[in-house]
């Protein structure tokens, strides 16, 4: 680097108005990029957190989501007592036939949204040790009781302990509130699976969650169940299933990426404009540097570097601006269940680095042509310019 960086830094400082204006454009783009990616990551992390690698999920063969799977009650009985399945202290197999249905609930403060109701077996909670009751008590099967996640309790009307809401053929009473932070369960209402089937007139379960004795038993069980043509099921580790669900973040990521690309084009043009102006204003300096013996390449690199530094200022501002949303909670529609999934924005160092890299790309794109113009100016013409 023949021409010192301080030359570029000071020029950026001297024309601070245009530097800031241009940097803000880049900052906005980087902030949008970082936020959307933080959103997608948060959503993905929520799905990934939800699945427990020790559990197996049984769905109908061909189903890619719990919501589209159906399993007859009689089939559950045919594998519920298999040896490979773990037993709890009472000697019951750790198997939870489950069903999910969508209901509409009123939000506190108006409007409504789809909420996912999960009917679980009596053992459903044992399979999910991370989910903890924090208020009230567990629902009692047969009494049309339910437990709701903390987020649902705080976001939806009639979802506090003791309150009731109508859904299906029943009026449900909220018996307790559970905490399932950072998992998709945080957006669910749980109650008894058989009551859900009855209230919503379903003759099938949707899926079965179970715990094999150990990993080896799990593998054996997967083979055994999938080999059984009559059962017609697909069995996979629960963690895998939720990993698959991360594709729900795809549309957001795509839209965000698209938006960021469009914005970046604008920001790169703004940077280009600024750099053209800088080259124009410093034409005689360029001539002088050339007379001193600096080569075209030195001039080129110097202006390109200046554009990149400018973009980095913007990138840093954008990253800073996006930081406050880290950990902020929000919700989005899941494309497989069509219910709302609550999750937190997640900004990581790696994501910030990507944001900065994105800014650098804008700087390079904005700087290439002006730097080329600067480098190509004939020395004498440059010297003669005012």
């Amino acid at each position: 680097m023949a021409i010192p960086i301080k030359y570029n830094l000071r020029n950026l400082r001297v024309r601070w108005r245009s530097t800031i204006a241009t940097a803000l454009g880049i900052a906005l783009t980087v902030a949008v990029f970082v936020m959307v990616m933080a959103l997608a990551r948060g959503l993905k992390a929520t799905y990934v957190n939800t699945g427990d690698a020790r559990n197996l999920l049984v769905m109908r063969k061909g189903s890619t989501a719990e919501s589209s799977s159906q399993i007859e009650r009689s089939k559950v009985l045919r594998f519920k007592y298999h040896d490979e399945i773990a037993r709890n202290e009472r000697g019951d197999p750790v198997v939870s036939p489950e069903i999910i249905v969508l209901i509409q609930l009123d939000r506190i403060g108006g409007g409504n949204a789809n909420v996912l109701v999960r009917g679980i077996g009596p053992i459903g909670l044992e399979l999910r040790p991370n989910v903890k009751l924090i208020e009230g008590r567990l629902f009692q099967p047969g009494l049309a009781e339910c437990i709701v996640s903390r987020k649902i309790a705080s976001r939806f009307a009639h979802c506090r302990v003791g309150e009731t809401f109508r859904a299906g053929k029943r009026t449900w009473r909220v018996a307790g509130v559970f905490d399932a932070t950072k998992t998709t369960y945080e957006s669910e209402i749980w109650t008894d699976a058989d009551e859900v089937r009855e209230a919503f007139s379903r003759s099938f379960y949707g899926s079965v969650l179970l715990r094999p004795k150990d990993a080896a038993a799990g593998e054996a069980l997967i083979k055994r169940l999938e080999a059984n043509k009559d059962l017609f099921v697909r069995v996979l580790p629960e963690s895998e299933y939720y990993k698959e669900q991360t594709k729900n973040a795809g549309p957001i990521q795509f839209m965000g990426g698209f938006l960021a690309v469009i914005m970046s084009i604008g920001a790169a043009f703004a940077a280009m404009n600024t750099m053209y102006a800088a080259v124009g204003a410093r034409t005689r300096e360029i001539g002088t540097l050339r007379v001193l013996g600096f080569r075209r390449r030195d001039i080129y690199l110097s202006f390109l570097l200046e554009a990149v530094l400018l973009a980095l200022v913007g990138g840093a501002l954008g990253c800073l601006a996006s930081l406050p949303i880290n950990g902020m909670a929000t919700g989005t529609m899941s494309w497989t269940t069509f219910s709302e999934v609550a999750f937190e924005f997640r900004i990581t160092g790696e994501l910030l680095a990507k944001g900065l890299a994105f800014a650098v790309v804008m700087g390079v794109l904005g700087g290439l042509l002006p730097a080329r113009v600067a480098a190509r100016k004939p020395v004498l013409d440059a010297l003669r310019s005012a």
Partner: protein
């Protein structure tokens, strides 16, 4: 006398302006010896700057040769020319042309960044050069914090710092008041006389030219009385 440092033979420069050809220099032959202080004089448009630019390796002859210390400047590529300039030429501009965002010290240091000198060596050279032009106490000042005369002295320090073969100046006093002009001319004279620098200076001011040891008159692109 030694081999001349600059040998110009039958040098012409023609500018093409659409259909019109402007003959800026027409068959110039001129030798400049080591340690000379030459004033290039002549009316406006006579080709003084053009000749100086060719000697300094920032313009090329249309015809003829300009050999500086054995190198025909016209034979060099762009990149070679840039390298040649940094080694052989110190250029002083009428408008000083200091980099506004760099301090006096940093401006003088610029050409040294193209050499392999260490930061320490560079500092020593820069300080010596600024000392020589009498501005050692202004090293940390930006150009806008200096008077015109001081700016030009910094520019001279920048031209000197690499110890080039030739010091060339295009109307170095053109933008200065009489007092500052006298300072700058005295400085160039000192550099020539005491440091043995070869100086080529364009001017149309006879008082300025009087500081030189030799005057060369140009008119309409040709040398008067053979140089």
């Amino acid at each position: 006398m030694d081999q001349p440092i600059v040998q110009i033979r039958e040098l012409s420069k023609v500018y093409q302006h659409g259909d019109i050809e402007v003959v800026a220099l027409n068959g110039i032959s001129l030798d400049i010896g080591r340690g000379e202080f030459v004033a290039l004089m002549g009316p406006s448009g006579s080709g003084k700057s053009t000749l100086l630019h060719i000697i300094a390796g920032i313009d090329r002859p249309s015809n003829g040769r300009c050999v500086v210390e054995g190198t025909d400047v016209g034979d060099l590529s762009e990149t070679e020319l840039a390298a040649w300039r940094k080694q052989h030429v110190g250029f002083v501009f009428q408008t000083f042309n200091l980099i506004p965002v760099l301090t006096a010290f940093e401006n003088v240091e610029l050409p040294l960044l193209l050499t392999g000198l260490s930061a320490r060596e560079r500092r020593d050279h820069v300080e010596a050069a600024l000392e020589l032009v009498g501005l050692a106490d202004r090293m940390r000042h930006l150009p806008r914090q200096l008077s015109g005369g001081q700016e030009q002295r910094v520019a001279i320090a920048r031209a000197l710092v690499t110890d080039p073969t030739l010091l060339v100046a295009d109307e170095p006093t053109g933008n200065l008041d009489a007092h500052s002009a006298a300072d700058v001319l005295a400085l160039l004279q000192t550099l020539n006389r005491d440091a043995g620098k070869t100086v080529v200076m364009v001017t149309h001011d006879p008082k300025a030219a009087a500081h030189a040891r030799r005057m060369v008159h140009l008119e309409k692109g040709e040398l008067l009385n053979g140089g």
